[in-house]
Each structure stands twice: as structure tokens, then as C-alpha cells.
Symmetry: none
Subunit: 379 residues, 2 copies
DNA sequence: GCGGAACATGAATCCGCTG
DNA sequence: CCAGCGGATTCATGTTCCG
């Protein structure tokens, strides 16, 4: 069978929690096809698998931004499959090996988009995995839909599953609650995409990998579903985000990656990542900002009816609410902010405080309705 | 085959937008199995389908049992496999009928949770549907996970798809943007669950249906992907949320529901729902429906003189207007769009917003002149 | 050095009609 | 079916550059 190529990175001190197999190529990148590499690992030896497989995006020609720039799309060969059937075969092959090497109480995470995640989800159910949650990564700053043809594709989906319904998997409930201001962690996570200094660049200054995931995502995944010292396998290692976060959180890791250039980037990255101090392992609190409420919600939820007349505080202007959440007055129309600015001939306007609605004989700023919505939904 | 039982509710005034078939049982609930009822509808007759199929996979309801179920006791794995297979058969059966009755440019929405949505998504791709978006309904106030064993299941997933990649589906981009404070509507929608007065109760005061969807959800779905007068089919009608919102937004609807008690609740509910006033229905016009104005008209009508010099906003390029409505600059010539693209070395250019004319010492985009022309001709 | 404008960019199934 | 062409279309961040 030949010897696996290994890239060794600095060994980290293990925090003991579960018995480990000494045969595993720990804290190492295996440069190989993921199915072939997994086939060489022993049965039931891995605590957690995080998989970021190709999405099979099926993109067409070039896409241009309104200002003329060209979108740098994922056009790599590794994302191309001839048919759904071919993609399904690939998926089942790596899922089977993943299932074999996973401990009976271990869990598997897979991330994907609508292009592939439904196929992956159905396949893993067919292979006997038991879905625990589907988690939505809500991107704080996604790429817009430049042509206005669909809803902005602003999220990705992760599936978290165990090997069976009865498995006693790891879920660090308290740690998750602590990360979320002492509220239960929900199935939707709002996190920024990977950019700025975290985004790895190659020698030319271009992004080293087209789909690098943010460390914050892996941080939450590993903190939720592993203990220190657990063994984490990533069969589509890429730039090694999983390995870097595992090392930082004092988990052991194994990465599998076929492309030599990604292996190089990942091993350098992980070597320069330091494990957290034991004292800091308690977790880092995250700041939470108030959710933005669009005016349209008030109409959709019935707090305000289409056709209602709004006025400013001194009743100098009035406007009618339409079904799509815009206002119309004297032929002018627009959002609550834009119309307020237009009527006052001002550069901008806070529509929430400018516009009022008459209720019980009194003029209420529509911001009051927003507060009511927030209160009703407990946010 | 017998005659379909129909429950007629009050007819709503139709706002004409697309040609309709008089044979369809419009604004009616068909009390029948959804596949059997759809089988009686003509091909390509429906503009939009909203489907909220059952997903009680592990409850082993009769619905999903394969014909002539096993006699021998089976172990859990086999039973689960059978259940998934049976669920897939059921899914493909209703998806095929849905596909047949849908117009070629119509679209389908399906809502589900992690129990069933991956199977449904894979099945609809297999049947040839083309996914446009997956939409996350982020529940503002979900039920907590009482045992603390998983993440709070705080969302449901909707898949929006067309019949083919090339279909010219309806997407009211402007209306969606209007609902969202003039920002593109994203694929994650934060809306409260259906509760309080909206939640229908039976005579005992218990909730009439276990999975009643909020009207706000359907409001956004219908506003996004249908026009007034369009025909909306809901093959799993339940308490008729789809019908109630369709009536309110002046869409036509057909509901299919097997359970007599739900049919009763839904028909009463819809009868007491009133359509919105026409004036509130007039939303932001979609730009693409505005009449086209050729640049040459501005010259013919005297709004612009041949020989006038146009520049871009930063005065980097200039061009001269010729009598035939073309521009010329540095030997290059062409339409306002083509010349703009040529000069910038860009793949395309909107000449209306790129070119400016100096009037009263200020640079005005020539689009302003087009607006002036449209206003003068009363369009 | 600082503030603001300008520029760059992210897993994207991204136009529609006419001839 | 394809080519041509009119003209519609972007949000949140982070970095660079200029005054």
C-alpha cells in the first residue's frame, strides 16, 4: 500500500480526557485522497469529524458586478462533477469511511450550500447517521445578488449527526450557553465570513483557497462537541482551519488534503498557531448587538395594516403604507427613511422616529411598534 | 372516480394579470388525498405551489407504510430504512404531480425541518426541479430545548425552485427590497412563530393544527413569487394559511386537504378574511416593466441637442451627441451603452447612468432626461 | 498622524427580448 | 438555438491612498 506522506507539525501537550490510540497519525496532514487516507485509519478511533466537501456549485459563465468588476468564482476542478449521481457516489464513499473510523459515540459535522447539502443530508441518513441538529451559519456580510434575480444567498447549512439514535454524544451545553449570554445556543449562528488578516494569501497576494472557513465557526463547533484531548478528523482539510482551531483549543487533529499547495499553507499556518493557556480555556464571551428590524416586518406580522396613513409629529406630511412596506405620498414613494428625507428635502431621515401613526387618538412614533415587535418576540 | 367534494368560499374579485383556465376549481378546498386531487388538475395550470408536507418519519404513520407491510418483526435499522424509502416514494409521488400541474415558468416552495427537508430537496433535484434559493425561517421565539441535549431547534428550511434552469420565474425583487428597508432581501427571514390570536383553536380550546404556519411567512412568499391574480396551489392545506394570505393579497388559490376537521377550520377562516384595498396593493413597480425609452427620443423631442457634449460623472471621458442618437469620442462611436463600455474597457455599461450632461453648472445623469420624458408623456 | 474617500472582495447555480 | 444588444444591477468589511 505504500507509506502515507506525512507533514509533521509541532506536537502539542495532550490534555487527557479519553483513551487514545497511539497508532494514529496525530497532529498531521495526510496528503492523499480522502477515501484512500481514511481507509488506512483504524475502526472507531476518531471522536469528531468535520467535513467541508466540494459543493458542486455548477456555475455558468462569468458574473460581473454592477461597477464592472468580475466575480472571482470557484472554478476549480475539484468542485466539478458530471452528474448528481456522480456526486452522490462520491458522497457515499467518503461517508462510509467516515462512519467506520468514527467512534460509536463520536459525531460528524458536514457543511454545505443548497447545491449539495440536501444530497449529503439524505445520503448520511441512508448510511445510518442520526441527525442531531441542522445549524445555519448566517453570514453577516455575504456577497450580494448583483443581478437582483434571487434572494441574497446569505447562509450555509451544517448538519450535525451521531452514528445512531442511541449514541451518547458529547454536547457541552453549559459552554454553549455561556457563549450566548446565558441563553441556550440556537441552531442559527450569525458570524462574519473569513476576510481581512485571517484570510490566508499565497505569494502573489491572492487568496490561498477559494472557500476558507472562519475560525469562529470551527471554534464553536469544537467547543460544542468535543473535549480537550479529543481526536478531530477533517477529510477535506484545505487551509487547515479545523487543525488550527483544534490546536488552539487543545484538541488533537488529523487532516487529509490532496492538493500539495493547500498542505503547505495549512502546515505553516498550524505551526504558527499556539494553544490557549489552560486558564483561558473557559471560553471567550461574545458581544451581541440588537437585531435589526425592517419596517416590512410590522406589516407582515399585522402590527400595521397596508393602507394605514402615517404623518410626521406635526402632521405636516402624510403618507400611506403599502403592502410591500414602502410609503407613498404625493406621487413620491420609497422606504420610511427615503420618503421622509425626500419630503423634508433633507439628505437623510430616521423614518422610525419621523413617522407616526394615530392610535387611540394619539400620535405614536412607529418606533413604538418596533419596540412592541421586539418585546413580543423576546429579542 | 366520483366527484370531488368541494367547499366553496366567497369568491374574491380577480385582478387580471395572466390568462386563467376556467376549468380550475379556484378559491376552493378539495377534500381528498393530495396526489389523487392533483391528478385531476390540468397540466401547466398553476403559477405557484406552496407545500408543507408531513414529516413524522419515526412515528410510522399509515401514510408512509409500504403496501403490504412486513409480517415479521424487524430491527430498528431495517424499520428506519423502510420508513425513509416509503417517505421518499410518497415525496416523489406528490412532487411528480406538482411538477405536472405547474406552469413551465411557475415555482414551487417546500417547507420542512431536518427530519425531512434533505430527502425532499434531493428528491426534487432528482425530479428535475432547479433550486433557486433555500430560505431559512429563523424563529424569533422558538420552543427551547428543555433537556439541554442539543442546540435549540430555532429554524425551519424552505426550498424555492423552478421547473428548469432556464425557466423565467417571477421574482418581485423591488417589492422584497421595499419590505427590507431598501436592502436586498436575504435568504434568512426572522419571523415570529404563529401564536396568540392568529393561532386557530378548536372547540375545546386546543390548537386546531399542530404545525400552523404564520401568515407573515406566506405573505412574504406570495409577495415575492406571484402577481395579483396568479393561481396558488397548496397540496397540504391544513388550516389554510396559504389560502387566507392569497385571498388577502388578491391571488387565486386551490387547497387540498384530506382531514374534514381541517377543511372546516380553513374554510371558515378564509371566508372571514378580506382582500386588501387596491390602493394598498400597488407596490413599487418592478423596473423591468417600465416602458422602454430609446435615447434617440430625447433628441427628437428636443430634450437634448445634436452636438451636445456628454461626460461621465468624473469627467474622465467625453463624447458628442450625433443626430442619429449615437455618440462619438476619439474615433470610437456607438450607442450610449456600447461607447460607455468601450471607453471603460468594461463588458457592459448602462449608458443612462454613466453619461452626464451639464445643465445650470451641474452634471446631471441623462437618466434624468429620460424620467422627464416619461413624466411629460404621462407614462 | 488622522479622517475620509476610494477601492477591493466574498462557495454565485445572477438578463431578457428580438430577429 | 444562437447572436446581438439595450440596459438593469450591490452589502458589509477591510485596506489603501490622499489631503
Amino acid at each position: 500500500m505504500g507509506i502515507l506522506k506525512r507533514i509533521d507539525t509541532k506536537q502539542q501537550p495532550a490534555t487527557k480526557a479519553r483513551p487514545k490510540l497511539s497508532l494514529l497519525p496525530l497532529d498531521t496532514i495526510l496528503m492523499d485522497d480522502c477515501v484512500a487516507a481514511m481507509a488506512k485509519l483504524p475502526d472507531r478511533s476518531i471522536d469528531l469529524i468535520f467535513a467541508d466537501p466540494p459543493y458542486n456549485l455548477q456555475l455558468g459563465g462569468d458574473l460581473f458586478r454592477p461597477e464592472g468588476g468580475r466575480v472571482d468564482a470557484v472554478d476549480d476542478d475539484w468542485d466539478k462533477f458530471d452528474t448528481f449521481e456522480a456526486y452522490d457516489r462520491f458522497t457515499r464513499a467518503w461517508l462510509r469511511e467516515a462512519r467506520r473510523v468514527l467512534k460509536d459515540d463520536g459525531t460528524l459535522w458536514v457543511i454545505g450550500s443548497y447545491h449539495n447539502i440536501f444530497r449529503v443530508g439524505a445520503a448520511l441518513q441512508d448510511e445510518g447517521f442520526w441527525i442531531l441538529n441542522d445549524i445555519i451559519w448566517r453570514k453577516a456580510n455575504p456577497m450580494p445578488n448583483f443581478k437582483g434575480t434571487r434572494f441574497t444567498n446569505a447562509h450555509e447549512t451544517m448538519i450535525w449527526c451521531s452514528k445512531s439514535e442511541k449514541a451518547r454524544y458529547t454536547f457541552n451545553y453549559r459552554a454553549m450557553k455561556g457563549l450566548n449570554d446565558d441563553l441556550q445556543m440556537r441552531s442559527d449562528w450569525s458570524l462574519p465570513i473569513c476576510s481581512g488578516g485571517e484570510r490566508l494569501k499565497d505569494d502573489d497576494g491572492h487568496k490561498a483557497h477559494p472557500t476558507q472557513k472562519p475560525e469562529a465557526l470551527l471554534y464553536r463547533v469544537l467547543l460544542a462537541s468535543t473535549e480537550p484531548g479529543d481526536i478531530v478528523l477533517d477529510p477535506f482539510f484545505g487551509t487547515g482551519t479545523t487543525g488550527a482551531v483544534a490546536r488552539r483549543l487543545r484538541r488533537r487533529w488529523i487532516g487529509i488534503e490532496r492538493e500539495p499547495k493547500y498542505v503547505k499553507v495549512a502546515s505553516e499556518r498550524i505551526a504558527s498557531t499556539l494553544p490557549l493557556d489552560e486558564s483561558a480555556m473557559a471560553g471567550v464571551p461574545e458581544k451581541k448587538s440588537a437585531p435589526r428590524v425592517a419596517f416590512g416586518i410590522l406589516i407582515e406580522t399585522g402590527l400595521l395594516q397596508p393602507g394605514t396613513i402615517l404623518t410626521d409629529a406635526k402632521r405636516r406630511w402624510k403618507a400611506e403604507v403599502r403592502a410591500d412596506g414602502t410609503l407613498v405620498a404625493d406621487g413620491a414613494a420609497g422606504s420610511i427613511h427615503k420618503l421622509g428625507a425626500t419630503l423634508q428635502n433633507a439628505p437623510s431621515c430616521n423614518g422610525w422616529t419621523f413617522w407616526h401613526v394615530e392610535q387611540a387618538g394619539k400620535l405614536l412614533p412607529i418606533d413604538t411598534l418596533r419596540q412592541r415587535h421586539l418585546a413580543a418576540t423576546g429579542e
